[in-house]
């Protein structure tokens, strides 16, 4: 029993306690600022994410880079406790439209290999300004009017799923 005690508690319990405390503070700090733990609710991102899935969101992903096409990102509402999880399909300055479920960006069909569920969505041309992205979920089987998607301002994008 003694070696086990040494491994888990250490020879000096005060040092162990201090180390555990520091580790706890570091993990808490990282999980509340850089790697936000995410618990998914809803099926908007099927088949990649579904209710009950867990993950982390890297909030530094876009500190030195711009959000990219196909990135799965968190969209903040009033804060970061509750966010939308969506995929970027349109970048600033582009136009996005959907015909019979096929996404067209600047008039060309966008290849979306990740899609398994595609419905008959139709959306007229949406022009994006210089600080706007077009985001949508992967579960396009849901009727379009039941799905929350559209143009979103850059400042609302919290980070990228990790």
């Amino acid at each position: 029993m003694k070696p086990v005690r040494k491994i888990f508690i250490g020879s000096d319990w005060r040092h162990t306690l201090l180390r555990a405390g520091v580790l706890g503070v570091v993990v808490y700090g990282m999980c509340s600022t850089i790697f936000l733990p995410i618990r998914v609710q809803g099926d908007s991102m099927l088949p990649v994410y579904t209710t009950g899935d867990y993950g982390f969101m890297n909030t530094l992903a876009y500190r030195w880079a711009s959000p990219g096409r196909f990135d799965i990102v968190g969209i903040r509402m009033a804060g970061k406790n509750v966010m939308y999880l969506k995929r970027i399909i349109g970048l600033p300055g582009e136009s996005v439209e959907i015909h019979n479920g096929l996404v067209h960006v600047n008039g060309k069909v966008l290849a979306e290999s990740y899609l398994q569920l595609r419905g008959h969505w139709d959306l007229k041309k949406q022009s994006l300004s210089e600080d706007e992205y077009f985001v949508v979920g992967d579960n396009r089987e849901v009727p379009m009017h039941h799905h929350t998607f559209g143009k979103v301002k850059r400042r609302r994008i919290v980070g990228r799923m990790w």
Partner: protein, 166 residues
């Protein structure tokens, strides 16, 4: 010596906890508490049936001004008075017997001069049709609150557009 240090640390911690508990709450804290109470009243369970449900819904009126204006989103008609709001709540709560409402990420701007406040929050509504089938809806909202007679009342509710379609 060590025992003394531990006792002093415990005493300081105890004093801090007591100060934290008895320290007078700010108006912002009162507003947050008021909205959490509203969330509790709106949330229903299967136990809230018939008469109990009516009493439960009547409890809602203490949170709104008579001329409350509520805009939720495009699919739900706007409401311009408290009576109509309660009627709508009655219908909605009958359709959703298990409903949980929560206000997340609440930020409060309080104007001391006018006794008015503005709240920005994410409203999360979870409906459970069965143990397995749950529906979750979230919407960012702005609310205007006033304090005419000692209690904070909601005067206006409007949605904040996060994603936009032309």
């Amino acid at each position: 010596m060590k025992k003394n240090s531990v006792a002093i640390a415990a005493a300081v911690l105890g004093i801090l906890i007591v100060v934290w508990l008895v320290y007078p709450k700010s108006e912002e804290d009162h507003i947050r508490q008021r909205l959490h109470e509203l969330a509790e009243v709106v949330s229903t369970t299967q136990q809230h049936r018939d008469a109990a449900r009516l009493i439960h819904i009547a409890g809602l009126q203490q949170f709104f001004t008579e001329d409350v204006s509520v805009h939720i989103n495009g699919n739900i008609p706007n409401v311009g008075d408290r009576k109509k709001l309660l009627q709508m709540a009655h219908v909605a709560l009958q359709q959703e017997p298990n409903l949980t409402v929560a206000f997340e990420d609440m930020s409060v701007i309080y104007d001391n001069g006018t006794q008015q406040a503005q709240v920005n929050t994410t409203v999360v509504v979870t409906g459970a049709h069965s143990q397995r089938a749950k529906s979750v809806n979230a919407q960012e909202m702005e609310m205007d609150l006033v304090k005419p007679e000692g209690e904070w009342l909601i005067k206006a509710v409007r949605p904040v557009e996060v994603m936009k379609i032309e």
